[in-house]
Symmetry: C2
């Protein structure tokens, strides 16, 4: 998925920061990272966390941390997964302050699943439209009443903030973000290469009804 | 996704071994692990590799290793991802011998994407039907001529060996394996919880034609 060699000067790669915390949900973050990671000419992935120790997911597997919160913020696109750990992170002042400090320097901020509850707790979704995991919607929406919570959505875009529904919805959202940053054609090609059946309609969401939200 | 507490004696959890190697493909392994990991009453995930050092994926992010090849083999279900590193592993005698030693003790062996090329190189697919990543089909099928390679398939089952097509196909295959081990109802529930649009038909494969294989 990388272009041919060229003598023209290339623009700096965009840094995709994946923000980990204990009990993050595996597919929430590795689905999107597969999509961005396939475009290594354009994006560089950095695994971020509060501390330098490897971070255990809700499912068990542990990820190595590349940078901590004190290592500066040259992130272009910040991805915040969901998972059981969001219930703790929504009350973690260090995490919330990092998000507030980071956001003004970002090109895009994106959450997956209950990650939007943490963004809401940081105040970053106030006055905006957002969605979350359809099965944990009550918790996420309890994190801020100043957000217009959209129950039926695969993902929601409001300015440069993207919020996805549950788990696998992050893949669809990431492809939409890649389409915006690069092109629709590139996003289609990434989905094809990953043999992923991209749901390109942000309003496609059979899960909201199954979760009793409609 | 875990059942209620019970005083009845529970059966031992099945151990799902995820076999990592340098330049493995992220979603190949973390898609399936999300599905099995959601059922923590039934499955325990172990990250396996030849050496104890963290293993870097083709996309960059590194995973911590729980056990190496010398730590014994009480694995029930072995998952082998694809990725660029398969080209090296198909010629790595330590990896091939580990697979040969491990297989007779497994309940199920499953590969994703070009992982089937490594299984073929180990001789484990001889006389069987198998598939691989539709875009790297020529390479995978070159690893053994004693395999009946199926170009058009989301996944192929032959006895207790499962081989999936490219990347995201591993999620569909894993749900089919969960349906076989536990029940169709549980697999449907896992897909719903992950908000994943499960392709339940093993023959669903628009990617084979797009890759010019038909």
């Amino acid at each position: 998925m990388n272009g041919s060699h060229s003598s023209r000067k290339k623009p700096r790669k965009k840094i995709v920061g994946a923000l980990l915390f204990p009990d993050f949900e595996l597919l929430d973050i590795f689905g999107p990272l597969e999509m961005f990671g396939m475009l290594s000419d354009h994006f560089e992935i950095v695994m971020l966390a509060e501390s330098a120790a490897p971070v255990a997911s809700a499912q068990g597997p542990r990820s190595v941390v590349d940078r901590t919160f004190t290592d500066g913020t040259d992130i272009d696109i910040l991805l915040l997964p969901g998972g059981q750990g969001t219930r703790r992170e929504a009350g973690n002042p260090v995490m919330l302050q990092y998000l507030r400090d980071c956001y003004p320097q970002l090109a895009y901020l994106a959450s997956i699943c209950t990650g939007s509850g943490v963004l809401a707790a940081a105040g970053l979704l106030d006055g905006r439209r957002a969605t979350s995991n359809q099965q944990s919607f009550a918790w996420a929406s309890s994190c801020s009443s100043a957000v217009t919570w959209v129950a039926r959505a695969r993902w929601v875009t409001d300015g440069n903030i993207y919020t996805a529904g549950g788990v696998a919805a992050g893949i669809d959202m990431s492809l939409a973000l890649i389409a915006r940053i690069l092109s629709e054609e590139v996003a289609v090609e990434v989905a094809r290469y990953a043999e992923y059946d991209w749901h390109r309609d942000a309003d496609w969401d059979p899960f909201a009804e199954q979760a009793g939200l409609l």
